[in-house]
Symmetry: C2
Subunit: 504 residues, 2 copies
């Protein structure tokens, strides 16, 4: 048995190592690669991705899993295996099964049509014309449904799609959670828009980029991001990527007229990176050294960005430093003014610019439309109208252009149906973890106000990060908070915060 | 036949693409990789190198080559093949044959012992104690002899080693050329050391690194290095690497007290890079888009660095710009003072710091010792004494420590016996090409003095770069200059230049 297990570990390690090599090429492409290299880089990545797919679908892995007793009903394999080995068997069984269920021609068709889809989408968005993108999206929805059928599901085809991003999560649970969330958020938004709006005009003035960068690097260091195990560079779209367990890199971008973009973007990506840097030593070189779900990953970025980074105690420490970096911009603006400005709530069209309160409604909108598409309740051609109608219902406003509506996100052009819910789940997980964190550290606010951030990282590292993919999201939430995912923590967190900010 | 040829092209393209992916990981390791990532990066590279070895030794390639009629006697294959296809068949036949001749356990032993060898060498050099390195070097020499036997040779085992770096070149030819070179260089050095020395003390003052960089980037641009197809970054040891035909990157390093290090280092690496960027369009994606030998590669870096970059007309244009960048350092220093300072000749111990004249003698020294080692004429234990004795004969001085003598270069610790001659061959090829270039452009000096560098690049590109590996070094030299390698061009170049600099 140990020999079989060891061979599985080696197969898994090989795939993990190759995936990190792919990440090196991807990172370089987005940061330092000269413009003319794009065609060759695409060819290099295609070759390595093919090799990675071969490593992931090596039939020998199937034999090893069978020998270790792993089945769909019993994915952890033989009970005599050590705890960590069972976790690995379950994890490998999951990715091996999903990948081998898809026929090669379907995988190839998805690769081809999503590659095409992204360029068609980019042009359609630029020209704000959904009709250009609709035929391709129809193809992608059709392919996606085929993927769901191949993968299989018990209750709903969307389960099979969601499972790619949020393993083991079911559509019914998301529906239940989002139903409750939607009501509470709409109530809260209504209360807020009835109150006088906060003033954030000073955040649109000119903030020198080099000083933004220096401040971001200071915060990054204080948060506990170790530059011996990672880097921060600039790219068009901020991201986090793991080139290894000891090489996690983030990117940001600086905008002179919008300093909060780099600042909160940096903290957000740092949250992702700290998760990747925190996996247990025992998981080194294995695919268990990976985030257990996108929702849990997002919980780490959101907890740092919003619960810590947009909190009053955080800015009571950092605001004087920021003021010192930009005296010509921030003199006369108090820490309270700043705190309120970076927590301004206002329904808007674009998801990535949305505040903490309305953000979830953007996700509910997409989730509802994705479900309707997969169910066949609406046709692709109906999407723009459905978008506007749902937007009005949820956010009270609706966009007048496709670019500001149905075409704003890249995800569908990449075949990523099932991805969006993880963003909102991330906020819910974050709030539930944050509640547990505050219970564990009663004087957290005082510590934050003294600029002491390491207790937060220490707690997250030992409670959340350490486990990697050895626990599922559900198991992790149970282990850390003692209960299942409960959206009330998020609602309570928002209510306490925005009651204060807006005095409703 | 075309179908077979097409399959060979695809196999070759796959290997070339994978080798570029490996180069991405290597470049990142030397430039931006965080320190803690080194172990994982080594594992990633080992995996990709193994895959690359598999791609290079795919038995199917052997079948295709046989079907195309390629043999040791007739490496270009069937005469009915197009010219370019014959060139590819010869090139693939060469690398396939060399790689498949080595048994796997010998390749593994070399990988293991050279990896070990480098760390043992590094420590031995640090402590200037050859005896620490000697046992490992004995192993490496023994393995290298085994490699030579496996590869086979007609006249001398060193032929098989030399061929790795300078394909098709024979030891007898190097011996003949170096014999003549050695006599002429010793005579020239003797004449120079009898003359008053030039003053270069001002080059050891403090030159701000950011201004050095700005100047280097200016020269790099003028030389014709296109930043859409490459980059320049900083690394501990300058190098050039190809991540693709449209992605060639160089590195440099800035030293406050030695501005000529970055300046001539940048021009040197740019020379390598321009070669890699100049391969013909028809060779894109094939292994023919590669330097045809290390000697030819070095000819391109040396031609730019020394024949152009250390010439009087070059500095008559650039010196005022340099003076303008460093007025506090260079006021009162004339262009002629500067020109003479950067062409100072003085026998010294360290090869990489040697001037144009004594450099070749450093190489002759190593070549003689390598031959003696491979012949069994001296034992590893005798190397330090042999080094000192040969150094005194050739350079008139001999080091008193191992660090300044036999331990100064990394090459032997990497199993690189056969590599050194290519450095000197590079100078010889460069001078022979330069002679042809001057004949083709009679007013070259006037153009250089006006800062017009593009005629040099245009000529090199069309005459030298374009061919990639489709011509052997010997064929290329014949094609470009109308005769075989002839060291008299280098001697004549040096004599004309240093007669002027030193007035002998």
């Amino acid at each position: 048995m140990e020999e079989t297990m060891q061979e599985l570990r080696e197969k898994d390690r090989r795939a993990a190592t190759l995936s990190h090599a792919v990440a090196v090429l991807g990172w370089d492409q987005e940061t330092y690669m000269p413009a003319s290299a794009i065609d060759e880089r695409s060819e290099q990545l295609e070759l390595l991705q093919t090799m990675l797919h071969e490593a992931y679908t090596d039939p020998r892995i199937g034999e090893l899993l069978a020998r270790l007793g792993a089945t769909d009903e019993n994915p952890r394999g033989d009970q005599s295996l050590a705890e960590q080995d069972q976790a690995l068997v379950r994890h490998v069984h999951r990715w091996y099964t999903r990948r081998t269920k898809l026929p090669a021609d379907l995988v190839a068709a998805m690769a081809r049509e999503t590659s095409l889809g992204q360029s068609i989408w980019a042009r359609a968005r630029q020209e704000s014309d959904f009709s250009q993108f609709a035929p391709q999206l129809e193809k992608l929805v059709d392919l996606t449904k085929q993927v769901a059928e191949c993968l299989g599901y018990e209750e709903h085809p969307y389960d099979a799609l969601l499972d790619e991003y949020e393993p083991w999560m079911k559509t019914s649970q998301v529906r239940r959670v989002f139903g409750q969330l939607q009501e509470d958020l709409r109530t809260m938004v209504q209360r807020i828009v009835d109150r006088p709006q906060v003033d954030d005009a000073f955040l649109s003035e000119d903030f020198a980029e080099d000083k933004q960068e220096a401040f971001c690097r200071r915060v990054l260091r204080d948060i506990g991001f170790d530059v011996n195990r990672g880097r921060m560079d600039v790219s068009a779209h901020p991201f986090t990527t793991s080139l290894g367990r000891d090489d996690v890199r983030i990117t940001t971008r600086y905008s002179r007229r919008n300093p909060t973009s780099a600042l909160f973007g940096t903290i957000h990506e740092a949250g992702h990176a700290l998760y990747e840097l925190g996996f247990g030593d025992a998981y080194r070189g294995s695919s268990l050294a990976d985030g257990t779900s996108l929702g849990i990953h997002e919980s780490q970025s959101r907890l740092w960005e919003n619960m810590i980074g947009r909190s009053r105690p955080f800015w009571s420490y950092y605001y004087p430093l920021l003021q010192n970096a930009f005296p010509e911009r921030l003199t006369g603006i108090s820490a309270d003014d700043f705190y309120r400005a970076v927590n301004k709530v206002q329904p808007s069209f674009i998801r990535v610019e949305a505040d903490e309160v309305t953000y979830g409604l953007h996700i509910v909108l997409r989730f509802n439309l994705e479900l309707a598409l997969v169910n066949g309740d609406i046709r692709v051609a109906d999407l723009p109208d459905a978008w506007m109608q749902t937007s009005r219902e949820l956010l009270g406003i609706s966009p007048t252009t496709d670019a500001e509506g149905v075409l704003q996100d890249i995800h569908w052009s990449m075949g990523g149906i099932g991805y969006f819910p993880t963003y909102a789940l991330g906020n819910l997980y974050a709030a539930q973890f944050y509640h547990a964190l505050r219970s564990a550290i009663p004087d957290l606010d005082e510590q934050l106000a003294r600029g002491e951030l390491s207790p937060v990282l220490d707690w997250l590292r030992s409670k959340v990060h350490w486990h990697g993919s050895s626990l599922t999201a559900t198991e992790l939430v149970q282990r850390v908070t003692g209960e299942d995912l409960n959206p009330q923590y998020f609602i309570a967190y928002l209510d306490e915060k925005y009651r204060d900010v807006y005095g409703y």
